[in-house]
Symmetry: C2
Subunit: 565 residues, 2 copies
């Protein structure tokens, strides 16, 4: 199997015996349903910034590892975690000064619903937001102090904390919040905005989302139904697979559970399912028809496995308003898109101007050191805690994890990575738009900051999904030492979500190579073969899945009994 | 709240402002149902070996942190993880030589059912076992090679791997296995022993046990009922709380789900529930009465939250035999007790001479670096994989986690920590037996290696649980700078499960301080007050719980409908 790397583009041939040994041992002894990327897997042994290096020293441009948020092997994060590993790495049953410091710092980034634009001239969607720790409130023209961290994250109480964090100068939250309170959102003024004042640190995004389900169950005991977005993936635990259509309607999935309702994912490219309010009403009605009541709606703020989908402006706001009126808890899954990646705001939900009841975070939070978090309101934390059951997470909030988390926030802010993501993301998007104008298979290009997608289609007229072509493009780009992945329910979206240190030079490299593949390699002959393959995979895999999603949509909106699919 | 540490014993008074600030911020902003140990929490800022140091430099003897398995801030593990963090820390979708190396090394420790005694004269329970990587097969008189790691963990195939691991010289598995095959276990020869040949790396013990549930569901689709041990805790995910009586019958628990059956935990001290075969039959019958079928039995090999209970010799073997005959999958949860802690064997299940279908591991595996694992058979991995759903775990199997895991195995073996645990554990147990002979409240002392428990009772005649006294002892020991914890369903068992570097000097310190507390501090007056407190907490908390467990036991064994408790 390990007979040779695809070395056509760069003259590499053959593999080392270490490679063959490792591949054979992995296939023999490691979970058979874990995957290795690419037809010929890469043995990656070193990383630096946004580059990866294989065992033969070949350099790859990494366009997809959003976990290595501030760069592979970032020296500052590694040094911070390492120093802590050499000093103390124990659990949160002992007090440690860095845990509450980190807790309040992280919480301070959350309590804004505004889309904090980095363009000083563009204030249209801003409401005096304080979300951008990389840019500070000052740059947006706000009147927030740039002094030391006040340590308070509550809007209502004056701070009694003297926590300071010399390395980061986030906005002074209370002042920002006062400013925001003086400018209430124009819609639904009667519904109070939840303040995210309590944090739980856990070990993985899956643990964070699973914890969200436990909090929901405690806070909404009678309302056991859950709504989720089509194509969503929220994690790998038993409970999360049940709320992840990406899994339960994906390969090997066992279908939808009766208490789970799938909101059809907006498809702005095709103009489908763009009405958030209608979606909310349909989900509420579906739960009622099934004899239940919605307790919560889980949604990634920008959809990742769903195909790098940016929700239409106002979509989530309308959906949240409608569901909140019905008492439904609103969970923003920021595991993939958070921590400044979206450019315009530190958190994806802020680009939609909404205020979730629960926010879950993961992947980029520790730059690869296992860490994740859940933020929620004091009320929900109280409901979860009231029965008296302790929540203990061995590694969650352990000292080295916190050290990594602190360093990540420090680097994002000091190096202005949110602003950088916005700038480089727009540069890439511009380039992708040029490719879209030129090539028939480039159906849609979209995204926020450095969270981008290229939807590959058979042709612009039909907009038919082209997963085989997307996969082929991914492999051809890999042969040119550029790492992309494919995703979406029909696997036809090329994902771009690199470490945030990805620069203009790297963007040019990505665009240049992609342009060359489309121009030189995707010949009429190749396309003809790919289209044959498209017919096959559509007939066998993606077509049936597509019909499943459409049938769900039809039943949900027609008010038919939402039969188990 | 942070008005002063309990400094009576050592003259420490007052707390730093950093302490007060951290405690206030933590209570304000961090999950309210997370706990801080001790009435006056400790702010621990440094660790070394089996000692912890607070922010004022006060040294504490750590008798409970089994996560820091090879010692707090172990330099070798920290350096190994740190070097990897500075080089590359990415996920398992890329091939990396250390992942399969670690995989096969870890698997090689598992495939023995024997209780590998370290006492050459005590071969009674051994069947030529090869489980003790810290001691090598040779020390037990076996004929296993002490040469380099062969890289194969399968009994059936010859190795095609050339993986070597210079730092560790585990037994050559195939030869050991041949030896074992020539000495089949005397009972149930017709039931084949599962070989644990496939590993999954995950992020936490909870993720490992939750994954076990997913594998069970895939492999036994019709058999949705699960049996667990009374008092057991298997993790914090939604699904695991349901199979953890420690939680669902503990504080804030919502009771047993109909598909979960609780095997009454053996209580050798009181002579209750010692028959494994009867327990198995009762669980099978209870599932049948509830209209279901048992798919699996989950059990810690030595019970931790259940109260440091060592199962009676032969108990698990009889239970396994009976359940295996009925097609039930057997899961050994080694999250707390594995990795040589039990002294007599590398894994707890090996001390019971059983062969699980699934083994889950966590806490000590990375010495605090978040890592956990699940090992299973090729058949079960195939059943889980067959539908085609990928299993992906972002941090599981990431390169730094593997580096930490490799270093932990290396240190355990090189420093002979399993043998050390056996030696020091026996020394402690001898000392505890002397205390038991002297003091009325020391009801039972028990354990394996450095996994020990002291059951505190009202008096030796009644054997009544004394949680208030246990808690008081814990606090008094803390005042003497010795850290213990309490556990068990009635919270009356003092736990001893220190880093394995805990030595004879530390054992003497522990025994000396405990002896002094019992002798000098537990006066008749104090005991009188404690007994009043015992009456209160028994009436309000532990008595009802005790009745719940007894009622479960009664219904299970009487063949009554196993009503939801």
């Amino acid at each position: 199997m390990a007979s040779g790397k695809d070395g056509a583009a760069a003259g590499v041939s053959g593999v080392s015996s270490a490679y063959s040994t490792a591949l054979a041992a992995r296939r023999r002894s490691y979970g058979p349903n874990t995957s290795l990327s690419y037809e010929q897997p890469l043995m990656i042994v070193r990383g630096h910034g946004t580059y990866l290096y294989d065992d033969q020293g070949v350099q790859y441009l990494d366009c997809i590892n959003n976990v290595s948020h501030v760069g592979h092997a970032n020296a500052e994060v590694a040094a911070s975690a390492s120093a802590q590993l050499h000093t103390l790495n124990t659990n949160s049953r002992y007090l440690h000064p860095d845990l509450p410091l980190y807790t309040e710092l992280l919480l301070s980034t959350l309590n804004s619903t505004s889309d904090k634009s980095l363009h000083s001239g563009n204030k249209g969607s801003s409401a005096g937001g304080c979300s951008d720790i990389s840019d500070g409130c000052g740059s947006g023209g706000g009147n927030c102090s740039r002094g030391g961290y006040s340590g308070s994250n509550t809007r209502r109480s004056s701070s009694s904390s003297n926590v300071t964090f010399p390395g980061i100068q986030p906005q002074s939250q209370p002042q920002c919040q006062q400013q925001q309170q003086s400018q209430p959102p124009s819609s639904s003024p009667t519904i109070s905005q939840p303040n995210l004042e309590v944090l739980y640190l856990v070990c993985s995004g899956s643990e964070a989302n699973d914890l969200a389900l436990r909090i929901i169950a405690a806070a909404r005991p009678g309302a056991t139904h859950i709504a989720v977005m089509g194509g969503a993936y929220h994690g790998h635990t038993s409970a999360l697979i049940q709320v992840s259509p990406y899994k339960f309607w994906g390969q090997g999935g066992t279908g939808r559970q009766p208490h789970v309702h799938v909101v059809p994912c907006p498809d702005p490219y095709r103009g489908d399912n763009l009405d958030g309010r209608a979606a909310a009403r349909a989900a509420l009605a579906a739960a009622a028809r099934a004899g239940g009541q919605l307790g919560a709606f889980l949604c990634e703020s920008v959809l990742s496995c769903g195909g790098q989908v940016v929700l239409p402006q106002g979509y989530l706001k309308e959906l949240y308003d409608e569901l909140r009126s019905a008492g439904v808890l609103l969970v923003a899954d920021e595991v993939q898109c958070g921590f400044g990646r979206c450019g315009r705001a530190f958190w994806g939900f802020q680009t939609q101007g909404v205020a979730p009841d629960i926010v879950t975070m993961g992947k980029p939070i520790g730059n690869g050191y296992p860490l994740a978090a859940l933020a929620t309101t004091r009320e929900l934390a109280a409901a979860f805690s009231a029965p008296g059951m302790e929540y203990f997470n061995t590694y969650g909030g352990s000292t080295a994890a916190v050290a990594a988390g602190l360093a990540v926030l420090r680097v994002i802010q000091r190096d202005g990575l949110q602003h950088h993501a916005q700038r480089v993301g727009e540069f890439i998007l511009s380039g992708l738009r040029r490719l879209r104008a030129t090539y028939e298979v480039v159906g849609d290009v979209r995204g926020l900051g450095l969270f981008l997608g290229i939807e590959i289609v058979r042709d612009k007229a039909s907009k038919r999904h082209a997963p085989a072509t997307a996969r082929w493009l991914k492999e051809r780009m890999k042969a040119r030492r550029v790492l992309l992945s494919t995703d979406g329910p029909y696997d036809n979206v090329l994902k771009i979500k690199p470490p945030l240190v990805f620069g203009i030079r790297e963007a040019e490299m990505l665009l240049g190579q992609l342009s060359e593949v489309l121009e030189r390699e995707l010949t009429a002959d190749v396309l003809h073969q790919l289209n044959q393959r498209e017919d096959e995979v559509w007939a066998s895999v993606y077509g049936p899945r597509y019909l499943q999603y459409r049938e769900n949509e039809r039943m949900l909106y027609s008010g038919l009994p939402h039969a188990r699919l």
